[in-house]
């Protein structure tokens, strides 16, 4: 393991799972690419996007112009708003049912469908298959999210092939936003390679078919990427809006809450109240696995984002990360009940994910954490300027709760609308 070094501006370590390169001034590729957000002429980039989408606008005939993958959170409102209202395209919304849906996520998605008046197609893989897959991905490589990431990144492509729609809109490119994998000007598009490499940590559906496990083709075929000839036949492209619009998730979510009644909620392991309100597990059990495997949690991603947007100093960010990183998961019982395994057994499976670079076990104290935040020693001591963490929280609005006046139970398909809550 090459020696772990940290970016001087944000909190990322050189062993970031998406890869991170530190230049000779000790600034990481993520921060360098973020500088483009204050250097590029975004009006000119917006005009470039308008020109790009022009040939995809069908006039009058009964055909959708594009596909937008949506959820009950993660920038879906902003993308539909941008594509439908600002670019004037007629989208088909598509969604992969992640099964860990919160009532708030269901409500946000229902409200999205109503406010933007769009047709939607939701893929629901049978629960038996989803649970069988989740058991395998959890036991084989400590992931409860592989099926969701695979489904969310392939159903829009499958739908594009089936509906013969040649254009898909995604939000921002995660590799670009987090670790500066590409410049905005590379205008990188959706590729199967990036999906396999980073969304699915190098494992496509067929890679799960090991001789020693019990998964069969009939369990995984719905997660296979369409074949090259099918993509060529439709002339399919996946465009990232973040290459053409100055991407700022916090500002975008606030605008969507104002314009279209998007609702955020407090999440117990991060200060951000907008991104992952549609899932009981992303900021809970899944985030614990991230901490065990990679030595840092989602709150570090949110903190780095806010540092780069100059809304947090590095000291405040470190204080937030340390405050939230140790918080206990809250919805473990729901996940155990859903998968049908005892909590003790889940604890065993989670512990297997602990990466020995970041964890070691002691007899009395149990597991000792030596992840990123323990290696960035000098930040907090530099200056104790910590604008009260409470008023940082105030900047992130919680309009509702994940339960949204229902009990904290996974919803498979929900109504998401009721007279009293929606108004």
């Amino acid at each position: 393991m090459t020696e772990l070094r940290f970016c001087k501006r944000c909190l990322y370590g050189s062993d970031h799972p998406l890869g991170l390169v530190l230049d000779d001034e000790g600034i990481c590729s993520g921060c360098r690419i973020h500088e483009e957000k204050d250097q590029l002429d975004w009006q000119e980039r917006w005009n470039k996007l308008r020109k790009l989408v022009q040939p995809y606008k069908s006039v009058g005939n009964a055909q959708y112009d594009c596909i937008i993958p949506v959820t009950g959170g993660q920038d879906s409102y902003f993308i539909v708003h941008t594509v439908k209202n600002l670019l004037g395209l007629k989208p088909l919304l598509v969604a992969y049912n992640k099964h860990f849906n919160t009532p708030l996520g269901i409500a946000n998605l229902a409200n999205l469908r109503i406010r933007f008046n769009c047709d939607i197609a939701i893929k629901n893989v049978g629960l038996r298959t989803v649970k069988k897959l989740t058991r395998s991905t959890l036991s084989q490589f400590s992931s409860i999210y592989w099926p969701i990431l695979a489904g969310h990144t392939v159903f829009p492509v499958e739908a594009a092939i089936r509906y013969k729609i040649p254009l898909i809109f995604w939000g921002a490119h995660q590799g670009l936003e987090q670790v500066g994998m590409f410049s905005h000007e590379h205008e990188v598009e959706m590729t199967r390679r990036y999906r396999k490499d980073h969304d699915l940590f190098g494992l496509e559906a067929d890679d799960l078919l090991s001789i020693f496990d019990t998964l069969t083709e009939s369990d995984i075929w719905q997660y296979r990427y369409p074949e090259d000839w099918q993509i060529k036949e439709v002339g399919l492209r996946g465009i990232y809006i973040g290459n053409y619009v100055r991407w700022d998730p916090k500002a975008q979510h606030e605008e969507m809450a104002r314009l279209y009644n998007y609702k955020g909620a407090h999440l117990n392991r991060t200060f951000d109240t907008y991104d992952y309100v549609d899932c009981f597990n992303y900021m809970d059990c899944h985030d614990i696995l991230k901490l065990f495997k990679h030595g840092y949690s989602k709150v570090t991603d949110h903190a780095c984002r806010e540092i780069r947007h100059r809304r947090l100093t590095r000291t405040q960010a470190e204080a937030l990360v340390r405050a939230y990183e140790k918080r206990k998961a809250r919805y473990i019982p729901q996940f155990c009940e859903w998968l049908g395994i005892p909590e003790e057994s889940l604890r065993f499976l989670l512990d297997r994910a602990r990466n020995q670079h970041y964890w070691y076990k002691q007899e009395r104290e149990g597991w000792v954490f030596q992840g990123w935040s323990t290696k960035r020693v000098n930040i907090l001591s530099e200056s104790q300027e910590t604008r009260g963490l409470t008023d940082i929280h105030a900047e992130f609005v919680a309009h509702s709760t994940l339960e949204h006046d229902h009990d904290p139970k996974y919803i498979v398909i929900g109504k998401g609308y009721s007279e009293k809550i929606s108004s």
């Binding site: 009964a62 049912n97 047709d119 939607i120 893929k123 049978g126 509906y163 075929w221 919803i411 398909i413």
Partner: protein, 377 residues
Amino acid sequence: MKYCLRCLQPDTRPNTVFTEDGICPACIYYEQSKHIDWRERYEQLTDLVEDIKRPHSQYFDCIIGVSGGKDSTRQALWVRDKLGLNPLLVSLSYPPQQVSQLGVNNISNLIELGFDVLFSGPAPETWRRLMRESFLRFTNWARSTELALFASVPQMAIRYQIPTIFWGENPALQVGDTQTMGRNGYDGNNLRYSNTLSSGHAWMLEAGLKKDELIPYIYPSVQEFDQSGIQIIYLGWFLGDWSLLTNASYACANGLNIRPEAPLEQGDLYGISNVDEDWHNMNQMIKYYKFGFGKVTEYVNEELRAETLTRQEAIRLVKRYDGRCHERYIESFCSFIGISVDFFWSHVLKSVNSNLFEVTSNGHIQPKFDVGIGLHL
């Protein structure tokens, strides 16, 4: 107005013709079905199923349109667990404002039973506007929604290149909608000519909607059917015990959620129909005022044929509960499509069948017939 001698079906249903000795088509079919060799039909079906080839790189053998209700839940279970096929279920759902909690629970039930479901939800505002236009034009808000429900299945079959579609009952045989008759008892490719689809989508264009807003409402053409080799197969032809009550029994034993309201409120004896939203039962009330019979008549007809109900008890039930609808459903419907309740009644009264009903001075609608007998002399 004449009643069938065997059941309480009046001869007011469009496109249905009674025999000279006064028996309705459904009773004729019921009689005939007593001598059907169901084993032979089942073997016919298993032969058909054998030459189903899976489309390229897919594991789906067939498609079934589902609402999550009793009929579709039963079909899905039978096709998978008896015929051993792997069906893709296609569910065209009401928008969030209209779909009921029971409705979404029933779709969830199918997914929990292990079925893969492709759920499609048309744009809610366009849906609402079309329901309003349909109500104003036909005093039946469901003309647009029925078209979307029927069209969604062949649309998806063509998109996914899965040519075999399983459907429920053959409307020509079991309900007497004769022009949907195909090459044989289970060929459903003429379903496009059924009453519900007969109005097509031209009227929607007249109402000012553009073609690219109507994608979910356009029923694929005969030519599109042939290009993809689409074949709709009626399971009703093979399932000898097909009926409201038997289907509901199979489905309830596999997790179906049903309506809790009393018959007086919803004009439905057991709460096992139209579970996924609340305004169909109100539509049944309007149908009652147009044709003199509603949902309860359909129930009792089945039981009369199966001789599990006396004619006298059937008449009492129809008189007591047919055409009933609690006003809260009328109010919620009116507020959804943006009309007043008064306008609703003034519009409904226009299409009340005047030779079957008379409207009293205080706006009350009185039947001019006795159930089971006919018009007062």
